[in-house]
Amino acid sequence: MSAQSWKSSVGPKLAAFVSAPSSPQPLGVFRIGVAALLLIQAWSLSESLPELLGNRGWVPWSVSEALASPSVPRVDAVVAALAPLGISQAAGIQGLAFVYVVALVGLLLGLHTRLSAVVAWVIHTVLLNSISFFSYGVETFAHISLFYCVVMPVGAAFSLDVRAGRLSEAPSPLATLSLRMLQLHLCLIYLSTGLEKLLGPVWRDGTALWEVLMQPQYGQFDFAWLAVVPWMVKLSTWGTLAVEVGYAFCVWPRRTRGLWVALTVGMHLGIAVMMGLWLFSGMMTVLTFAAFGWPLVAEAMVTRVRAAVLLPFHSSSAR
């Protein structure tokens, strides 16, 4: 195939891939899922703010600074800025957390979505940079997701902004580009984590999940019995690798998409139940469901509704 013919055949497909107008509904699902999970997280951590964020907490500011990014302010900067106003450290942290929660509620409802997303993203970035010692996977994905809520048209579906006429829920090229970005980002995530696991001997020999589940902080149950059935450990370990490495390749074709969404959600459900990482698993499930699962569900619902509407007519004409 010549370069010219390749360009003429692939070019339009690529253009359609990123610009053929599509519904913003997956982005609305993404926004609602992320905001709901972050509200649950905020509620679950609300009583531990002094220990997690305070200078006299478990990790003083002078220590946590070692892992912080110099490009992003931290809570100590916010507290220092509020001090001249007579606001104490505890009140400053609580105030910041309160504004964050209000912004998340706005994001959840799709009320002044962009503004809510910007406020939630900025505060989350500051908080994340302040709790580097306490953070784990869920924070990483929350951070990425909130940035996407800022730049993507996530308020164009299932939102009060649409109901109030401030935003249109019509299919748009921007919704398509945003969805593609989210989808490609997820493929990069699963592929890189899968490939990095493949570098580890415990993943290759199939014993990684034994090492994970036998750790007291992860194992929600006594998994010592797994030693009697090592094939089950190997199957689960290699199954995890297959789902993660295969994600980037199998989630695109229509024939395997539903299966891979189900396998990925199932894997995260397993992580939640067996390791107790409910928020992390919830976040990953929201991302995959919004990016790849919702279009399938929406399509199935439309087909079912159409069938329900048309069936009586077909039935009567058949009679």
């Binding site: 970035t125 709790i131 951070h143 890189s192 007291p216």
Partner: protein, 176 residues
Amino acid sequence: MRHTLTPGHGLLTGLAAVHLLLVACGALHVPFLQLTDTVRPWAQGYVHWTGASSGFSFFAPGVSPAVRVSFDLEGASGEQLHDDFRSDNSAVNVRIHSMMLRFGLQESRDALARAWAAAMFGRHPDARAVTVRVESLQLPTMEAHLQGSRPLWSEAYRAVFERRLPASVSTGEVTP
């Protein structure tokens, strides 16, 4: 139906591609190549604000051994107490575990132990000394477990701290 990119949408697509390239660099641990000193801080600021520099090495390439932190306290009249950071809240426990895993960072160890000792003195106002003990879990293989081996906690760090007296006598001692 034929779709052509408008200039505006083409620009946005290009920006999205650059963002995803940075994401790939972060995910694959590839440092920024050939960036000048002027551009690098801006690029670092961008990836930190957007999360594009995030790595996704969950339990990869290996599984870090479990770490547990506990405290032996000596009361005012010499009685012994034991405490730890465990919480009833599982969301908090996950974070405590993340903090313990970062005890592996050599440069932060003593400062972390000191902060934890201070937290214990706050929780037990009558205590006059606290021993911070960090242990890591040695896990047997499945075969060894079947033959009777059991997980074993081994001490990785120990430091003793004494409460500062109201007078100017300071007896904070770190003995790792």
